[in-house]
């Protein structure tokens, strides 16, 4: 029997799989999965495979891909959120306060506009706090959205205190019985100590029920740096990934799940209000293995 086994099965050695692993490495890296996460995932894969017995007729490449897909799928489960945010809001005491933050130009303001659209469609009423009092026309940009979407907006003065804009919006929501307060904040680099302090202050004063980090799907290795930085600085409940329509593979999704175990709740897939879709982990897998 042993002899038969030897003929029919063989043990996987490092050499047998190294070419395929290198191929997979290229694919992960080209999908903007961060280098360190790519290395770790492939190391895990190797450890799992080496020493296993496979039937000689089995296609090793298929086996490895299947195995990777399975483990990626497990990792990606961390991207899932336990409950739907909109349902959550409906069940929670009002006003429900959400703050959005992230580095410059990722799509925070546009995502807020999309959120207003989504919440309104779900029968919730919304007020926006334009707490970006820094960037040129940040106020006007939100004002255009608020007008189009027919929701109230609390504006700030340029150079003014963003935390007090957030505070005013919350007070207004309370007195008017508004369900949700969406706080837009200025873009800030993960190197800027002062602006980090400012964000902390906004959060201290607004006491948000939910914090959203907005990340750009076009970003490479730095996206994970950003995610780590904001986690350490203020923490967040979920990530929204934007500009997915720009054909980026969105490897950050995997890096986030592996390193930070953070859920991704929505994807921005265009510049229109309806271009916001719920995130599903299989989305990333399909893209990666397409």
């Amino acid at each position: 029997l042993n002899i038969f086994n030897k003929l029919r099965y063989k043990e996987i050695k490092e050499n047998d799989i190294s070419d395929i692993i290198e191929e997979l490495r290229m694919e992960l890296l080209e999908s903007d999965v961060s280098l360190e996460v790519t290395d770790k995932i492939l190391e895990d894969l190797k450890t799992n495979l080496i020493g296993n017995k496979v039937s000689r007729s089995e296609d090793l490449e298929q086996l490895i891909k299947k195995s990777l897909k399975k483990s990626l799928n497990e990792i990606l489960q961390y991207n899932k959120i336990d409950s739907n945010l909109v349902d959550n809001i409906k069940k929670s005491p009002k006003p429900f306060i959400i703050v959005f933050f992230g580095v410059n130009g990722v799509g925070k303001t546009t995502t807020i506009a999309k959120f207003v659209y989504l919440l309104k469609k779900n029968g919730l009423n919304v007020i926006i706090a334009a707490a970006d009092t820094f960037r040129a026309a940040a106020q006007e940009q939100l004002a255009v959205h608020a007008k189009k979407l027919e929701v109230p907006l609390v504006k700030g003065k340029y150079g003014g205190d963003p935390a007090s804009v957030a505070y005013d919006a919350i007070q207004s929501a309370k007195s008017r019985g508004i369900d949700v307060v969406l706080i837009d904040t200025a873009g800030r680099m993960n190197t800027d100590k002062d602006l980090t302090e400012e964000l902390k202050r906004i959060i201290r004063i607004a006491k948000p029920n939910f914090r959203i980090l907005v990340l750009d799907s076009l970003a490479g290795n730095d996206a994970l740096e950003q995610a780590r930085y904001f986690e350490d600085a203020v923490g967040y409940d979920a990530v929204i990934l934007t500009k997915v329509d720009a054909d980026a593979k969105g490897g950050i999704v995997l890096s986030l799940a592996y390193e930070l175990k953070k859920p991704v709740i929505y994807l921005g897939i265009g510049q229109d209000y309806e271009n916001l879709i719920s995130f599903d982990p299989s989305w990333f897998l399909d893209r990666l293995f397409s």
């Binding site: 006007e140 490479g220 720009a246």
Partner: protein, 304 residues
Amino acid sequence: MLDNIKDAVRKFLSGSSSYEQAVDEFIKDLQKALISSDVNVKLVFSLSNKIKERLKKEKPPSSLERREWFIKIVYDELSSLFGGDKQPDVVPDKIPYVIMLVGVQGSGKTTTAGKLAYFYKKKGFKVALVGADVYRPAALDQLIQLGDLIKVPVYGEQGNYDAVGIAKRGVEKFLSEKYEIIIVDTAGRHGYGEETKLLEEMKNIYDALKPDEVTLVIDASIGQKAFDLASRFNQASKVGSIIITKMDGTAKGGGALSAVAATGAIIKFIGTGEKIEELEVFNPRRFVARILGMGDIETIIEKM
């Protein structure tokens, strides 16, 4: 992973392995540094193969200077990619000069338009801005606020959605008023899928203006998509220069290298903050040092 190339070289020099083996290891670490700086993966392999060839063919100097020699070869190959070891010439070679800014959504075009206007104004040029983004809410307000700040006139047509017409009328107006440098801000676009028509619009603006220079504005944090994106832009309207924005963050900016490879354009400026004066002329040495994760390239190059 090794933190930087410095460690790689140190490891190499202290190692007891053969020269061939050491080169291979060094190359591997170099690849890692470049990839984690977001240089296009394929570009990393072609670059590192070239470097490997040189390291194997050329004679290494005494082991004491070997570290410098390694870095020098890496630097040579990287800098030859973006046109050699020299600061770009940013003063226009003719007047009037029309610059059109293009790039993906949120890359920093409008902010950079303001910064460029300020930069050239300080150099003594008569500068004007044209706002041809008809999509982003308050795009024109943004440009106007920047123009007001630096006292540079801005042309735009609120409520009109004909980007080509606006760009054309704006440039013509400023040309007739003898402005010397005219900077045209355009809408963000990526051109994939639904946005094919946006890429066409850009091409139409380009054809209507025949600008002296198309500048691709690239976010330092852009990842692997940079190469393909830049190629698309280049196909629609020949890209002549690149500006890397948001270099004040932690992103290394390797995507810009991919864009250079894809377009043949040169990098002229980097943006180092949100403020209007936070624009610097591109410095190849500093940039390569950042990509490689080491600070003392300057001294090494000087020594060689």
